[in-house]
Amino acid sequence: MEKIQNKYKVLVNEKLSPQYWRMVFDAPDLAGEVNPGQFVHIRTDDQGLQPFFRRPFSVYRAQKYVEIFYDAIGPGTRLLSLKKKGDIIDVLGPLGTPFALPPASTKQVVLIAGGIGIAPMLILSDVLKKKKYDLVLLFGGRDRGHVYPMKEFKDNGVKVHIATDDGSVGIKGRVSVLFDKINKDPSSTFIYTCGPNPMMKAVQVFAVQHHIPGQAACEEIMACALGACLGCSIETKHGFKTVCYDGPAFDLDEVKFH
């Protein structure tokens, strides 16, 4: 079953901000296969007993190496943050349905991310920058500690706008205070969003109101991540769909956010 299950060497595991970590592992084969929106499923405990499940991470960048971006917030991610350069990790991937690309008429592509939801957006901008779109990132974070250094996005030619709940960086408020940066022409604008469900719901309401098409990358607790256990199902217009196999990327207007 080596098709998707492999062991890779950790090259970098570093703290990027008070809250966020970045891990780089040596996986040239995986890097060549992964598409924006896809994820990897990592065994954070070698025995697989505590925590019991693997942990899913959006691929953040896949060039020569594969990078993930994570918040050391629970038992799995805390264990992951203890991995050192040279450690070996057990990885399943690439998994899931990637983002669909924008239609041919698209001029402006708006990436709307909340907190750790920024993770799939960098690899997406790596791909989209080749297409000469007007690329805009609207990022919402709790405070300064939850804002990620945006250099790589700016290097990709992305115009970055930030809102924080406490106003410590950018405009004070939720990411919706930045929606005036979106060109409201449904035939030439395309939205990608990833973040907490209430944020994605606000994005969906805005997009539906202005008939702007887009895609959302969803999250749910996962066991297998292979579409076998049907544990990570969410409600959509077309019934229950698994985030791991049918998603994580769905049409923005398809998902019923709760």
């Binding site: 079953m1 256990c229 229950f240």
Partner: protein, 301 residues
Amino acid sequence: MNLTIKIGNATFPNPVTVASGTFGHAERYYNLEEVKRLGAIIPKTVTFHPQVGNQPVRIFETPSGMINAIGIENPGIDGFITQKLPALKKIGAPLIISILGHDEEQFVGIVEKLNAQHGIAAIELNLSCPNLKHKVLVAQDPEATTRLVKKMKSLSKFPIIAKLSPNVTDIAEIAQAAQEGGADAVSLINTFTAMAIDIKTRKSRIGNFTGGLSGPAIRPIAVYMVQRVASQVKIPVIGMGGIMTALDALEFLIAGASMVAVGTSNFVNPRAPVDVLEGIEVFMKENKISDIREIIGSLKR
């Protein structure tokens, strides 16, 4: 080395299979050359009509295990035969089809449709799913178990395996009831009815309110139940419950299981069933055991 196991008129190349509901999309994700070496594959339970499954949240991680309440989401027997069965047959491992009817008529309907199929090794009757709105499971009632198994045996052209619930006072009594009905084997255990609570919202962590506990957390109880059942019935036992490694599987075999199923650990290590099979082969070689039957039921007192 002989690892073959017989259940009714079906022969399995080795005792390692995958538990129902824990294995899927092999064609996309797995190395099929490895998967086809398994003793059998038991796909997710299929019902007469399609089922959409339970309201999320459907799973919750627990110490060394998980609670699930998926609710047998499946395309129904007709959908299964047209959409799933062809790809499963292509894998090349024997297939044990797990079925569930909400009444006897539905069980009959499913078996009749499967009788028209080829390339099936056996049928497993799921008498023990804890996540549906049944007040009492068939596998909690010895008379109902005997009656249903007898009816299925009279209809099915394939061997019949009864999957039992641990949510009973004495699982051996139910196993004997299945044997009395003519079952070719029993498989055990299904999950334990369980619950976890979010103390912030004071609500159940599971959309279905309760779910079924599985994984290594339940393994010692499963080993005990398999030992107890195997000592009280003459038919083969398929043992399962938290098997992660070959060493775990060997416990079940020594306790009396003729076959073992790898379930929840598929979610943590997709290669687990193959690892278990290879580990059993290594154990037999190292201990100069030429026939798997030298291990089965070899527990000493």
